[in-house]
Symmetry: C2
Subunit: 344 residues, 2 copies
C-alpha cells in the first residue's frame, strides 16, 4: 500500500465533527482493501489554541507542514474572534504562503439530492469551478487604509488559466467559461481578459467563453446545463461557488482543494462550509462535504480508484435518503457516517 | 398636471426598443387621467454617436442634464466597442459625476411570472437591493496598473447605510441585511462593518443582520422569504442583483434607480439589462424592465398613484400570460406594450 503523510487540522466548530467523521470513512476505505495508508499527524491549530496561547499556529507552520503529502483541514471561525483575524491567522496564510494557487471546487447534484431549481434535471448541473487562490481581491494588505488593493499579475493569471484549461481538457465537454468584470473594473480585469485569450491559443481543443460575473449568476440559475468548467478571480469564484453549492442542494456537500500544481508544497483539502457555530456540538453537521473533500484528496494523491469508490458510497447513501437536515433529511452526522462506512 | 423635464437617452441595442415602448406606456398613462406631463428631450448619446463623432456624449453633459428632473436611460454596449470604454464614456460617468450614490433595485416575483426556484411561493421573494453607487470597487482609476483600488470612505458608507435604513423603515418587515466580505477583505470591508453598527443605532426600529457575500447567495436561493431590504457595495450588489432578477424569473424585468437622494442632481432610471446585441433589432426584447423603471421614475418624481397604476397594469398583463420569450411566453415587445397600454 502507498503511504502518505497527512496533516490533520480540524480547527473550529463543526470542522472537528466532520473531520472526525471523514477519518472514520477513510479508515473504512483503507480496511476494505484500499491501496493506501494514511499516516496522520493531528494539529490543534484553532481559535481555542489562540485563546489559550495567543496564536493559531506556531510561526514554524510552513516548516512543520512542508514534509506532508497533504493537509486535511476542517474549518476556522469562532464567535468570540473577529473573522478577519481568525482567517488571516490560519486558513489564508496556509493558502497563500504555500502558493496553493489553484482552488478547485467541483460541484454537481448528487444522486438522491434535490436541486432547489425546479427545472434542473440530473446531470444538468455538473461543474468544476477553478478559483485563483493566491492574489486578486484577497491580496491581503492589512491595516485600516479604507481601501482594498486587488493585485492581478500576468504570471498568476496565466498559471491559473493554464490550470483551468488542463481541467477543462479532461472533461467530456471541453468547455471553459471565464468570468470577469472587465466592463466596469478597468485595470486588473482587462488584463485577465487579455491573458485568457492568449492562453486559449495553447488549448485549441477547449472551447472558451467569457461571462461577466453578474450575468454569470443568471446563467447558473437559468441555464445550468450550459456550463462545465469555470475559472474566476478569488472573490468572484468565492461568491459563485457558494451559489453553485446552494443550487446543488446545500453548502453542506461542497469540497475544496487548495492545490499547488507544481507539487513543491503540500496541497490543502477542506470543505467549503465554515465552522457553523450555530449547529456546532450538536452532532448534526452534514459530513458529505468532508467526505467529498477526502475523495478529492485521495484523487490528488493518485489513489483514483479509491476516490471513485468513496464517491459511489456517498451517492448510494444519499440515494437511499440518508440525509442531514440541510438536505431535507433527518439523519445526524453519525448516521450518515455509519451508512457511508457500511456502503464502502 | 405636474410637469417634469425628462432627458431620454435610449443608447444602444435593445435600449432603444424598450425605451420607445416605455414612452408609449407613459403616454397612455398620462392620457388616461395621469396627473403628470413629461416634457422629453431626446439625446442620441450612444455607441453610434461615438463611431461617427468620436465621443459618446458632449463634454458639457453635466450642464445639459442638470436642469432635468430625471434621466431615462436605455442601455449602452456595442459589439464593436470594448465595454470598458463604452460604459466609462456614458453610463458610469453620469452615475458618478452626479453623485447618484444610491442605486436602488427592487425585485419581486410578479404575478404570472414563475420563479425558477421550486419552493418559491408568491410573496416569498420581495426584496429591495440598495447598492452603493459612487465608489468601492468601481472607484474607476483607469490605466493599465494591473491592480484595482477599491476605495471605501466613511462618508460614503454612512450615507448609503442611512439611505438603506430609510428604505427598510418604510417596508412592512423593517429588516435590513447588510452584505460584506469582512472576513477576507480586511480594510475597506471592516470599515463597512463598523459604520453599519454605528448607523444602526439611529434606526432602532429596523432589525439589521449581517451576511457574508458568498453565504448571501445561498440564503437568497434557499431562504428567499428571510430577506427584505439589502445593502451592499458596488460590486457585491451588482452580482447579487443579477442573481435576484434571475430568481425572480428573468433579468428582463428588473429596474434600477440611480438616485441622488439630496435631489441636487437629477436621478437616472434604467433597466438592469444591457443592450443585448444578440436580440437587438428583432422586436422581441422584454419591455417589462423599462416599464417598471418608468414606474420607479414616476414614484421618485412624486407621482405615486400613477406609479402604482402602472405596476398594476404590468402585473395584470403578466398575469394573463402575455410574456416575452425570456419568461417562457411568445409575445413580442409590441404585443406586451399594447397590452399594458390597454390595461392602463
Ligand atoms: C454595465 C455595468 C457597468 C453595470 C454595472 O456593473 O454597474 C451593470 O452590470 C449594472 O448592473 O448596472
Ligand atoms: C472563510 C473565507 C475566508 C473563505 C474564502 O473567502 O476564501 C471561504 O468563504 C471559502 O470560500 O473558502
Amino acid at each position: 500500500a502507498n503511504k502518505y503523510k497527512i496533516a490533520v487540522i480540524p480547527g473550529d466548530g463543526i470542522g472537528k465533527e466532520v473531520i472526525e467523521a471523514a477519518l472514520a470513512v477513510l479508515d473504512a476505505l483503507a480496511s476494505a482493501g484500499g491501496s493506501f495508508v494514511l499516516d496522520y499527524e493531528h494539529f490543534d491549530w484553532s481559535s481555542e489554541r489562540f485563546k489559550t496561547t495567543g496564536s493559531y499556529m506556531p510561526d514554524s507552520f510552513l516548516d512543520v507542514l512542508q514534509p506532508k503529502d497533504a493537509i486535511f483541514f476542517g474549518a476556522v471561525g469562532d464567535p468570540t474572534v473577529p473573522d478577519h483575524i481568525s482567517l488571516w491567522s490560519l486558513l489564508l496564510p496556509i493558502r497563500q504562503r504555500f502558493q496553493q494557487y489553484a482552488n478547485v471546487r467541483p460541484i454537481r447534484v448528487l444522486k438522491g439530492i434535490k436541486s432547489p431549481l425546479a427545472d434542473c434535471k440530473p446531470g444538468d448541473l455538473d461543474w468544476v469551478i477553478v478559483r485563483e487562490n493566491s492574489e486578486g481581491e484577497y491580496a491581503g494588505q492589512g491595516g485600516r487604509t479604507h481601501q482594498e488593493l486587488a493585485i492581478f499579475s500576468r504570471h498568476a493569471i496565466r498559471r491559473i488559466f493554464r490550470f483551468a484549461f488542463e481541467v477543462a481538457e479532461k472533461r467530456p465537454r471541453k468547455l471553459l467559461t471565464f468570468v470577469t468584470k472587465s466592463n466596469a473594473q478597468r485595470s486588473g480585469m482587462v488584463l485577465w481578459d487579455e491573458v485568457a485569450y492568449e492562453v486559449a491559443k495553447e488549448y485549441p481543443h477547449v472551447t472558451m467563453d467569457k461571462m461577466l460575473v453578474d450575468a454569470m449568476t443568471t446563467r447558473m440559475v437559468l441555464r445550468p446545463e450550459s456550463l462545465d468548467t469555470i475559472v474566476a478571480t478569488n472573490l468572484h469564484a468565492d461568491i459563485l461557488s457558494d451559489l453553485a453549492a446552494a443550487l446543488a442542494g446545500s453548502i453542506g456537500i461542497a469540497p475544496t482543494s487548495n492545490l499547488d500544481p507544481t507539487r513543491r508544497a503540500p496541497s490543502m483539502f477542506e470543505p467549503v462550509h465554515g465552522s457553523a457555530p450555530d449547529i456546532s456540538g450538536k452532532g448534526i453537521a452534514n459530513p458529505i462535504a468532508a467526505f467529498w473533500t477526502a475523495a478529492e484528496m485521495l484523487d490528488w494523491l493518485g489513489e483514483k480508484a479509491d476516490a471513485k469508490l468513496l464517491m459511489e458510497a456517498i451517492e448510494s447513501v444519499c440515494g437511499r435518503g440518508i440525509l442531514t437536515k440541510d438536505l431535507g433529511g433527518s439523519a445526524n452526522t453519525a448516521e450518515v457516517t455509519d451508512a457511508v462506512c457500511t456502503a464502502i
